[in-house]
């Protein structure tokens, strides 16, 4: 240790693991939670709060113009029309906000403060979403960041960056890829990636 609150001993992983295990044991001992609580919550989260929900919402928006309008106007109400799993505290569906890409507008979601993410529709964020450099650069120079990840947008396409917070957890309805007019819903589902619902990719066949 060389001083300063942000220096860690070499065994910081072990120390964190011990801290978390101790917290959970103490909370169980005090009767705050049971020995099954954390596993139950994780199991629900991991099985129900997945990008599959987001993909269903996007395909519905692509195939039903009225739903497409409703999902942007009042996201929680529109999402409630679909048969999706119930939310959880901390992952509340009431804070979901959809934004739709159009020929002239591309949307990108970030969280500059703490990596808020629309869990109920996209699951957990990829690790790079939480990276401070990504968060700062995406806010400052989104066009450049998008070009680097392969989303080259025409100069006249406006890029809107949406900063998530506890009150608004944004996700993107990407544009329906051209040439998919005859696709079934299942085929369309394959076009919707998590990245496309974050705005760091366009919808389309997974390469």
């Amino acid at each position: 240790m060389t001083g300063g609150q942000f220096f860690y001993p070499d065994d910081r992983e072990a120390s964190n693991a011990a801290k978390v295990a101790a917290l959970e044991s103490l909370l169980i001992e005090k009767g705050v939670i049971t020995g099954q609580t954390v596993d139950k919550v994780l199991s629900y989260f991991e099985s129900e709060m997945t990008p599959l929900n987001g993909r269903k919402i996007v395909v519905k928006a692509w195939t039903d113009p009225q739903f497409a309008a409703r999902v942007v106007g009042d996201t929680p109400a529109a999402v409630a029309e679909l048969d999706l799993p119930e939310g959880m505290a901390g992952a509340e569906g009431e804070h979901l906000q959809a934004v739709a890409n159009t020929p002239g507008v591309h949307n990108l979601i970030i969280c500059t403060l703490c990596s808020c993410f629309p869990w109920p529709v996209l699951g957990l964020p990829p690790y790079w979403y939480k990276d401070p450099v990504f968060r700062a650069r995406a806010a400052r120079e989104p066009r450049k960041v998008l070009a680097e990840v392969g989303v080259d947008l025409p100069e006249d396409t406006e890029i809107k960056v949406w900063d998530s917070s506890g009150h608004s957890r944004w996700f993107v309805i990407p544009q329906r890829p051209p040439g998919t007019e005859d696709f079934t819903d299942d085929m369309l589902m394959e076009m919707v990636t998590t990245e496309s619902m974050m705005g760091v990719a366009l919808a389309g066949p997974v390469p």
């Binding site: 860690y8 964190n16 978390v20 690790y127 990504f134 680097e148």
Partner: protein, 99 residues
């Protein structure tokens, strides 16, 4: 995908590198889910911890480890709500019962 030198996106990468990160995530969510605090309270601590790191001089703050902040926020919210000192009773469904 490549965002910058140290941040290459990899869609196949697991969301948690270690089981303790997964449990820390589950614990924070579980305590909120069962009514021991509002998610906002945890989130404000997380924002504060990350903000402190971002505003600290580079030479003094150590490497970026997202889950260090998560654990710090969790410890603080548990302390702030006296969960280990004065836990509130829970009902048959394990939810906190507020008087």
């Amino acid at each position: 995908m490549r965002l910058h030198e140290t941040c290459t996106t990899d869609q196949a990468a697991p969301q948690f590198d270690f089981e303790w990160q997964r449990r820390a995530f589950g614990l924070a969510l579980a305590l909120s889910e069962f009514g021991h605090y509002d998610w906002e309270d945890f989130q404000q601590n997380l924002i504060q911890s990350i903000g402190d790191w971002e505003h600290a001089p580079e030479g003094e703050r150590g490497d970026w480890h997202y889950f260090d902040h998560w654990v710090a926020a969790l410890q603080k919210v548990i302390a702030d709500h006296h969960l280990l000192i004065a836990p509130v009773p829970t009902d048959a469904g394990d939810h906190a019962v507020r008087e």
